[in-house]
Symmetry: C2
Subunit: 124 residues, 2 copies
DNA sequence: AGTAAATTACGCACCTTTTTGTAACCACGA
DNA sequence: TCGTGGTTACAAAAAGGTGCGTAATTTACT
């Protein structure tokens, strides 16, 4: 699936991480092993189809590992690979960068600073 | 002005950096001040529409600064802001991560990495 | 001298391509 | 029948490309 002819690793990662879901899913998987239905509960706005598609993409990229357990209502678990775990702090760093850069220009006068802070509270 | 209503800074950065162009443009702007036509030459596959759109987005995000010089034929220069420069190493880190993870057998295919490069058939 | 074309950095309208959402269906067994 | 994880077909939306118009000045041709 990852039939990429890009010369540049940055283009490749960005193609991997682009869109709303990849980083969100990584965030939730960072919390530990999750089942398909867990991830849907964690993020109710993702469609069934998108979740499978994105999980497959993350799997192909070596970020997520899929474990299928034989059984009655079929159980499948997803978790971050070691590489996936190494990716997490890099993504977090981007989030931090964004927060600090938004701070330096986001206060137009005497707005309530406290409100702004709690407004941008991360999901950590 | 970035009027974004996302709760999470990571979602916001990723929305900013998603797509093929943002990181590419940042890469070229990292080299120094560039004019519109320079950037088109650097990246011939981007359309003028996309270039203006993406530059505007980067500008709104505070990553790129636009300087317009009076005169004809109108000259406009683009360069990274300090925040933009701080972003560069973070993006590079993602590129490095990708390179190392691709190396360390992250792709459990049945063929070796060399063959996989020239062969487009993977999992379909 | 007069006209035409080129230049630069766009905006806009139209159209195609890609991505994403919706909904239905499959299989299995309690 | 329900719930599990997944697939497929079709529709909607978003992203992206093409080409034309704009500005004020210089150059190119006639």
């Amino acid at each position: 699936m990852k039939t990429l002819v890009s010369r540049c690793p940055i283009e490749e990662v960005m193609q991997m991480l682009s869109g709303r879901w990849p980083t969100l899913l990584i965030y939730y998987l960072k919390q530990g092993t999750k089942r398909f239905s867990d991830l849907r509960r964690d993020n109710p706005t993702i469609s069934h189809k998108m979740l499978t598609l994105e999980l497959r993409k993350l799997e192909d990229a070596g970020i997520v590992e899929r474990s299928e357990f034989e059984g009655y209502p079929l159980r499948v678990e997803y978790q971050l690979t070691p590489a996936g775990h190494r990716l997490v702090p890099l993504i977090d760093a981007l989030g931090d960068w964004w927060e600090t850069t938004s701070d330096t220009s986001a206060h137009p006068g005497s707005m309530d600073a406290e409100a702004a802070v709690s407004n941008t509270a991360s999901r950590d």
